[in-house]
Assembly symmetry: C3
Homo-oligomer: 262 residues x 3
C-alpha cells in the first residue's frame, strides 16, 4: 500500500476532507491516508509550513503529502507538485512548502518542482473554490500510484517562498519570536539550541514572565510550573507542567521571547 | 479494498466513531474507511442530508455510506439500507437521506430501499442507545463485503422524507434561506444559479448587510471584503475573503437571504 | 491487514497523531489504523482508561491499541506493552490500563505485561517529550506485524494501577459519582445496574435536580426532558432528550449522584 498524508485548514465538520479521500480512493483504493492536520488556522500558510516541516520527515520514503491551505484558490496561483528529498508534495504555490525547501538546501537533498497543469490528472470538472478536491487530491493519488512527477506538468524553478523570522543574536542575549501554540498550550519559538549554545545558564522571558534555567523534560518540575525546554524538533518551547502555558501567559503569535545569559 | 464512509454527530472524543471502525474491521479488514463528518450538529438530520448530498457523489461507485444521526435510536424508527444510483447507504429511517432520494429522482437514478431487520447481520447484543455500533456498522461492513441489499431485510417504498425549504421566486427578487454555515464561516444558502439566472446584476442582502454583485472566486476581492458567489456544488454562498462571514454577520440557520436585480 | 487503534490527548491540529501513522506505516503499511480518541482531556489518565474499557473489546481479537496519555514522558515511568485477553496494548505505565486489568480479572482473561525496554523496536533517536512517536508507535507497529510480546522487553508483574471510585451502597440508596461527560452532554456515572437492582422504582438526583424513574431509551420521553437510563456499557447515565444534560445541570467530574428508592 502507498502512503499519502493530508494537511488542510478545512476542519472536519463539512465533509471536505472526507471527500478528498473519496476522490483519492476512486483513483486507487490501495493508498493509506493519514490526516496530518485539518485544523491549520484558516489561510495560515506559515503555520502549515511549520507543521509540515515538523512531521513529514518521519513518514516513509515515497510518501505523498497533499497540502491544501489555499487562500488564492481560483486565482492565477499555480498548483504545484514536488519531490523534496525522498518525499512528494502537492499543493498550491503560495509559500506553504518554504521550510521544506530550506531544509532540503541545508541537507543537500534534491528538489524538483512542477507546475501541475496537465489536466489529464485532474477531475473533469474544476470548481473555482475547491481545488483540494478537484486538482490536488487526484494529482496526489496519481503520484502515489506511480505517475512520474514530470508527467504532471512543466518543471519550474521559481516557487513562492518566504523565510521564517530569524532570532536576533547579541552578545549575551537572543531575541526570538512565538511561532506556534500547540494543543497542550505549549508555546513554540523560532529559537534553536545552536542559537544559545554559547550561554551556560539562561533566563527565558515571555509576556513579562521570566523562567530561570531550562530543563530536559516535563517531569523535572512540578505540575503548574512554567518551564523552558527544547521540543522534539529542536526549537525552544515554553510549557506548563501538566497545564497550558498559553492559558497562563496569553502570548500572541510573533510575540518576542528573550533568552539572556544569567 | 472496498470503500466505506462514516457520517455521524458523535464528535471524536468518546471513541464512538473509532469503535465503529473496530466493528467494521472485525467483519472485514479489507475496507478503507473515510470519516466524512463526525461533527454534524447533534440530532440535525437536515444538516447531515446537506453534507451527504454535497460529498458522497465524489466517492467511487459501490461505496457504502454509513450515517448515524439518530435522535430516534431505540424507538420504532426503522434501520434502513439503500442503493441510490451507484452508491449504498445505511442508517436510520428518519429523513437523513431525503436529499439523496431527491437527486436520484432528478437524475433518473434507480433507488432501492430495505428495512434492515435481518438480525443475522447485526452484532449479537443490541443496546438501546448505540445502533451505530450494533446495527449500522455491521450492516455497512457486510454490504461493503458483497452481501446483497435484499438479504439485509424487506424492501420498503415509504421511507421518511422531508423537502428542503425552497426559495421564493418573484419578478425581480429571490428570497432564500441560510441552510448551513461551514468551518470557514461561509454561509451556504438554498439559492441556486438557476433561480437567479434571469437577473443580470444582483444585490444580495443578509442580516441587514447588502453585497453588490457576485464574484466567481475569492481572489477577485481583497481580504476582509464580504462577497457572494456560487460554491462548488452550485449554491449561493456568502463569504468573507480570508475571514469568516459568519463572525461578521452572525446569521442564524433559516435566516432569509434576498437577491434583488440591481 | 492488521488492526491498530490510537488513543491520545494530542488533539488533531499539530500533526502529532498523523506522524504516528507515518512511523507505523513506515514499519508496515499493511495496518489499518483507527483513531479511537485524540481528545482525552490532557493528562487525564482515568478518563482514557474509561474510554478504552468502553470501546476496545469491540475490536477484533489481535488488535493492538496504542495509548499515549503520558504526563510522565521523559521521566523514569516505564513504557509497557501487554496482552489482556485477546487484545494487545502499548503505552506508558501510569495506570492508564487499570480498568482493563480489572475487567480481565473479573472475566478470568490472561494478562501478560512487559517493560518494552528493547530499543531495537524503537526509533533510533528518542526525544524527551514525544515517546508516542519514538517508542509507542514503532513498538505497536512491530507487535501488529507479528513480533512476540516477550521480544519487546522483560516481563513485569507490578504495573501501576488505580481503582475507580466505587458507589456507596446503603439500604435504600446508592451514592455514586460523575465519571465522564460525553460529546452529547450525557453524564456518565460509576453506578451500574447491579448496584440498584434491588430497588423497584428510583429517583436520581444530581446537582440538585431530581429525575423520577428511569427509562430504557431516549425516545420514551420528549425533547428537552432530563432522563436517567443505562448506557450501552451498563453505567447509569443522565441525559437530556435531543439536548445536553451537561449544559442544563453543569455537573463537574466527581460530583455525587444519588439514587433513592422512591
Amino acid at each position: 500500500l502507498a502512503i499519502l498524508s493530508l494537511t488542510t485548514d478545512f476542519g472536519t465538520k463539512d465533509g471536505n476532507t472526507g471527500v478528498m479521500k473519496g476522490v483519492i480512493w476512486g483513483i486507487n483504493p490501495e493508498i493509506q491516508i493519514a490526516d496530518l492536520s485539518h485544523y491549520i488556522t484558516p489561510q495560515n500558510v506559515r503555520e502549515a509550513s511549520l507543521v509540515l516541516d515538523r512531521q513529514v520527515w518521519y513518514f516513509p520514503p515515497g510518501t505523498v503529502h497533499v497540502v491544501v491551505v489555499d487562500p488564492g484558490v481560483g486565482t492565477k496561483r499555480r498548483p504545484i507538485a514536488s519531490q523534496i528529498g525522498q518525499h512528494f508534495f502537492v499543493g498550491p504555490d503560495n509559500g506553504v512548502f518554504s521550510l521544506l525547501y530550506e531544509r532540503a538546501e541545508k541537507n543537500g537533498w534534491p528538489v524538483k518542482i512542477v507546475h501541475t497543469n496537465n489536466s489529464k490528472y485532474w477531475l473533469s470538472d474544476i470548481s473555482n473554490v475547491f481545488h483540494g478536491r478537484d486538482i490536488f487530491s487526484p494529482v496526489g493519488a496519481y503520484l502515489a500510484s506511480g505517475v512520474n512527477l514530470e508527467d504532471l506538468g512543466e518543471v519550474i524553478d521559481d516557487p513562492i517562498r518566504f523565510d521564517l523570522p530569524q532570532p536576533t543574536l547579541r552578545d549575551k542575549a537572543v531575541v526570538g519570536q512565538v511561532m506556534r501554540i500547540d494543543h497542550f498550550g505549549n508555546i513554540i519559538t523560532n529559537i534553536r539550541a545552536e542559537h544559545i549554545s554559547s550561554m551556560e545558564d539562561v533566563n527565558v522571558t515571555l509576556c513579562g514572565y521570566t523562567i530561570e534555567g531550562m530543563v530536559k523534560t516535563f517531569g523535572e518540575r512540578r505540575p503548574g510550573e512554567i518551564i523552558a525546554l527544547f521540543g522534539s524538533t529542536g526549537y525552544l518551547i515554553i510549557s506548563e507542567v501538566n497545564g497550558s502555558a498559553s492559558n497562563r501567559l496569553s502570548p500572541k503569535i510573533d510575540d518576542f521571547v528573550e533568552v539572556l545569559a544569567s
